[in-house]
């Protein structure tokens, strides 16, 4: 483990930003802290960096307790959300800063600094901007300079706070692929904070889902997407339909239908929430006798792109259900707006209410 977070608690006044958070980050991994704004993910990142002090708990770097260490002694690289480039310094001086402020004994020579800075600027492919000032750069360029600056001090750990948050959609996509490639090249243990599930799922080796100051789930992108452990994770990662239901003897009752479950066999009459992804909703024109389903009216069709999105209204309730199907299947079924269909949920996950 290169970073260990042990029982971190942090309050701001009456607000509990982090409530007993523990986390292990193995060496060389790229980990995403994912959660809605205000969930405490940035606070956790800042505590790891030493920019914030926890009320209790400890941070270990490579097994050594770093909680009491000053920021400047932690050897972390930190990329700020708005980059925090020094406005009055050129790109070159920004990157060189961390080397220049070292005490005389450990400070590299000017020639060495120059060599290192250019090396880093080449790494981020922006060597040609060395003499510019930050205000003259585009958002994506600033982002990469901020990264080069953070790497200049050869950090043991790289921390990025919403690294793509301030960029527009296109640059964002490019940069996150670039960050992934860079990480594969450098293998520096990295943690980044994001509220964008797509970003976390695409870039990270592992995703840490945080909600209300607590870790909900840790796992590979595949794991957290396919097997969410809580209603929150279900809702936060991807679209999902949610049905209030009752669980009784291994069956979930939703409205007037009953679905067989693979769990909760001993549960008696407990209210629960059932979750179904839109692509797990099967649609049929005819009622099936061997399968429990709802009758619904097609209230809206979005047919742009490879997938067709349907908004359906159950006949027995006013609740809206979202379904996704391929263009092919859509044409096969010849669905029309206002028409009646039958829907059959697959892969239903049920969470009991407590």
């Amino acid at each position: 483990m290169s970073i260990e977070v042990r029982n971190i608690k942090k309050n701001f006044g009456n607000f509990s930003a982090l409530n007993d958070v523990s986390l292990d980050v193995p060496s060389g991994e790229l980990v995403a802290l994912l959660g809605p704004s205000g969930c405490g993910k940035t606070t956790l990142l800042r505590i790891i960096a030493g920019l914030e002090t926890p009320d209790s708990g400890s941070i270990l770097f490579y097994g050594a307790d770093a909680t009491a260490r000053q920021v400047r002694e932690r050897e972390v690289g930190f990329v700020f959300q708005h980059y925090a480039l020094f406005r009055h310094m050129t790109v070159f001086e920004n990157v060189a800063f961390g080397l220049r402020v070292r005490p005389k004994e450990t400070r590299p020579s000017d020639a060495e600094i120059k060599r290192r800075v250019h090396e880093l600027l080449e790494l981020v492919q922006l060597d040609w901007l060395a003499d510019r000032y930050p205000p003259q750069l585009s958002g994506g360029q600033r982002q990469r300079i901020a990264l080069a600056r953070a790497l200049a001090v050869e950090p043991k750990v790289l921390l990025l706070d919403e690294p793509f948050g301030a960029l527009d959609a296109k640059v964002r996509k490019e940069l996150r692929r670039w960050l992934r490639r860079l990480h594969d090249e450098l293998h520096i243990t990295s943690i980044f904070v994001t509220h964008d599930q797509e970003e976390a799922l695409e870039v990270a080796d592992r995703v840490v889902v945080i909600n209300k100051g607590q870790i909900e789930q840790v796992g590979s992108p595949q794991e957290v997407y396919d097997h969410p452990v809580s209603p929150f994770v279900y809702q936060f990662l991807g679209n999902v339909n949610q049905f209030p239901s009752h669980v009784h003897d291994g069956k979930a009752r939703i409205g007037n239908i009953e679905l067989k479950l693979n769990a909760h066999h001993a549960t008696q009459n407990t209210p629960a929430l059932a979750f179904v992804r839109p692509h797990d909703i099967e649609i049929s024109k005819e009622a099936r006798t061997n399968q429990a389903g709802f009758e619904a009216v097609v209230s809206y069709i979005h047919a742009i792109g490879p997938l067709v999105r349907l908004e359906l209204t159950r006949v027995d309730q006013t609740e809206l259900i979202e379904a996704e199907l391929t263009q092919e299947r859509f044409r096969e079924l010849a669905i029309e707006q206002g028409g009646n269909v039958f829907i059959y949920p697959r892969n239903v996950r049920v969470f009991l209410e407590d």
Partner: protein
């Protein structure tokens, strides 16, 4: 003077003038401009011109001799000394206060800001008076000062103290809002990169607020050199000894030596004009860098 077509550089004016609905008729515009010019002329321009005309009334030779009079020279020297001490002290204070207030949260912050403003609210005469109460003959430390043969009141230290008091808030007032607006992300970035507190201050914070700092220094200096009321109370008006330039002007004026009084006054007026020019330059520079910064965020 003529009303020009709105220039495209000033988009605001262009915007306003473009639509007839949101601009005034020509005669309204004209009379408003004329009223403003009359007002400024009556209160600012005519008195300013008068300083120089009165100063040169007896010719250039008399003007020069009034300036190189030993008493005048010593008053200039004292004014420069007072400013040279007051400006750096208040500058240091301003930076310290702005650092504490802008970069940290603590209880009583707004009270502290109000207290820093106090000297603006106090009449200069009272600013002088309070130092007389402390260091004067019958003051708190009066007798012990006499015992050690230290003179504060009716001497240079008193003048310096009064000058510091009246120029106390200028730098802090400029820096606090500026540093608050800049946040502390850049400082934190410096910290993560291994910079010490002093390195952060010198290499990151101060370069970022340099225009505001300079602005504050210019205002402090102008007020320090021009202060009259506070200095008048503590100076004792000893010619060639404890007279600053404004006090020297007063003495000459009260002696009906008008030409000489205005001659020295003209130096102070030039100082004021230089101050205004520097101030405009600094404003222009900082607006330019702010504009550059804004551009890249959009």
């Amino acid at each position: 003077m003529s009303i020009k077509a709105p220039s495209q550089y000033s988009h605001y004016h262009a915007k306003v003038a473009r639509s007839r609905a949101t601009s005034e008729r020509a005669w309204v515009r004209w009379s408003l401009i004329a009223t403003m010019l009359a007002f400024l002329a009556l209160f600012l321009i005519v008195p300013l011109v008068a300083v120089f005309t009165e100063a040169l009334r007896k010719g250039f030779a008399a003007y020069l001799s009034a300036l190189i009079d030993p008493d005048a020279l010593s008053s200039i020297k004292l004014t420069l000394i007072a400013a040279a001490i007051a400006v750096p002290l208040n500058l240091t204070f301003g930076v310290a206060a702005a650092w504490a207030i802008a970069k940290f949260e603590f209880r009583g912050k707004s009270i502290l800001i109000t207290l820093i403003d106090l000297p603006f609210a106090v009449s200069p005469v009272i600013a002088g008076l309070i130092y007389v109460l402390i260091f004067g003959l019958q003051g708190w430390f009066g007798s012990s000062l006499i015992d050690h043969d230290i003179k504060v009141i009716f001497a240079i230290p008193g003048i310096v103290l009064a000058t510091i008091f009246v120029t106390f808030p200028f730098v802090a007032r400029e820096l606090i809002p500026l540093m608050q607006a800049q946040g502390k992300e850049e400082e934190e970035a410096g910290l993560v990169l291994g910079a010490s507190g002093w390195q952060i201050l010198w290499r990151i914070t101060l370069p970022n607020v340099k225009w505001g700092l300079l602005y504050g220094v210019i205002l402090t200096n102008a007020r320090a050199m021009g202060e009259f009321g506070a200095v008048s109370v503590v100076s004792g008006h000893i010619r060639g000894m404890t007279n600053t330039m404004p006090l020297h002007v007063e003495i000459l004026y009260n002696e009906y030596n008008y030409a000489a009084a205005f001659a020295v006054a003209s130096l102070l007026a030039i100082l004021a004009l230089v101050t205004l020019i520097l101030k405009s330059l600094v404003e222009w520079q900082s607006a330019r860098s702010a504009f550059a910064n804004e551009q890249n965020f959009s």
